[in-house]
């Protein structure tokens, strides 16, 4: 069984900016969308990943699916071919474009490295005014 990379960060945001030194700035991090009606207008967002102990070459697969129906919306395949020093993280941003959320519910981002499940990040999409008592 191949060695699993270590996941440091797995975040959803509006945009990932990279400066000339390769440093990343995340704009508008979110994990919950509240909206007045459905379907939502097409939306762009990014998924930021930071990993260590990535074996080169390896393949990362990020699957975006509607959780309740287990229906795949989009899939992004990333080939890790460039070796990085062991003390530095492997940082990747996957950009999703024109995504339409047709109904409220949970949407999962499933990250796999060479077929092995690393993590699942859930994005909650709810109708405005229907929120519960979060943080209680």
């Amino acid at each position: 069984m191949p060695v699993k990379p270590n996941l440091n960060a797995f975040l959803l945001c509006d945009q990932v900016l990279r400066d000339q030194h390769g440093r990343c700035s995340l704009i508008g991090v979110f994990q919950h969308l509240r909206c007045p009606g459905f379907p939502l207008p097409p939306r762009n967002f990014s998924v930021f990943l930071s990993l260590t102990e990535v074996v080169v070459p390896s393949t990362l697969l990020l699957t975006f699916k509607e959780s309740s129906r287990n229906a795949m919306i989009q899939e992004i395949k990333m080939e890790c071919t460039q070796a990085v020093p062991p003390d530095q993280p492997y940082e990747i941003n996957a950009d999703f474009g024109n995504v339409v959320f047709e109904r409220e519910g949970d949407y999962d981002f499933e990250l796999r490295a060479d077929g092995q499940l690393l993590s699942i990040r859930t994005l909650k999409v709810t109708r405005q005014g229907k929120e519960g008592l979060h943080g209680a």
């Binding site: 959780s67 287990n70 949970d106 993590s119 008592l133 943080g135 209680a136």
Partner: protein, 193 residues
């Protein structure tokens, strides 16, 4: 507060999270049956009913959220200190339980998908779904770790027991605070001899 529903779902959760508990009590046998995969549907599995039960439990957890918000900090601290090895009654406990229940629901869904894939001989899909179910179970466990006094010993049975005690204590504390303080009795005039 529909505590019975919470306890019911937590006993199901206990079965899902702790493999050794699966062979536990006879009273949990129905719950164990509910966790069978769809290929065993002929034996009377009702996955939809179980899902419905988890959903209603979430509503009950929201009700518990209101009680926790209304309680004074001193009451919460007192209840927390009164138990030697239990869960923390503090801000975040309800959302932790809610997250845990949601993850249990997802684990259940994934197991259902695994069963369907197995029935269709899609072994790769089934393996992926099983991996997902395991992931959600692990996350359900770790959701509860943050609210446990002893993070090494996380059992949903503890949470269930704690809910019984904490709910009673909390309700008593709220009731005692909401009661108006009785006015001092009018002093009797001393009877002249």
């Amino acid at each position: 507060m529909e505590l019975k529903k919470i306890l019911r779902a937590l006993s199901l959760g206990l079965l899902m999270l702790s493999p050794c508990a699966q062979a536990s009590t006879l009273s949990n046998r129905r719950a164990q049956d509910n966790l069978m995969l769809p290929k065993d549907k002929a034996k009377g599995v009702d996955r939809e009913a179980l899902r419905q039960e988890l959903t209603t439990t979430m509503d009950s957890v929201e009700a518990l959220a209101t009680d926790t918000k209304n309680a004074a900090k001193a009451d919460l601290d007192e209840i927390w200190l009164s138990a030697k090895r239990d869960f923390r009654l503090k801000s975040g406990v309800v959302s932790a339980v809610r997250d845990s229940l949601e993850d249990l629901q997802k684990a259940l869904d994934a197991e259902g998908q695994a069963g369907e894939a197995e029935a269709k001989k899609l072994n790769a899909e089934a393996a992926k779904a099983r991996e997902r179910a395991e992931f959600f179970r692990d996350r359900a466990r770790s959701d509860l770790k943050s609210i446990h006094k002893n993070a090494k010993q996380v059992f949903l049975r503890d949470l269930r027991n704690w809910l019984i005690v904490a709910d009673g204590d909390l309700r008593r504390a709220l009731e005692s605070r909401s009661k108006p303080t009785p006015e001092p009795a009018a002093q009797k005039k001393p009877v002249e001899p």
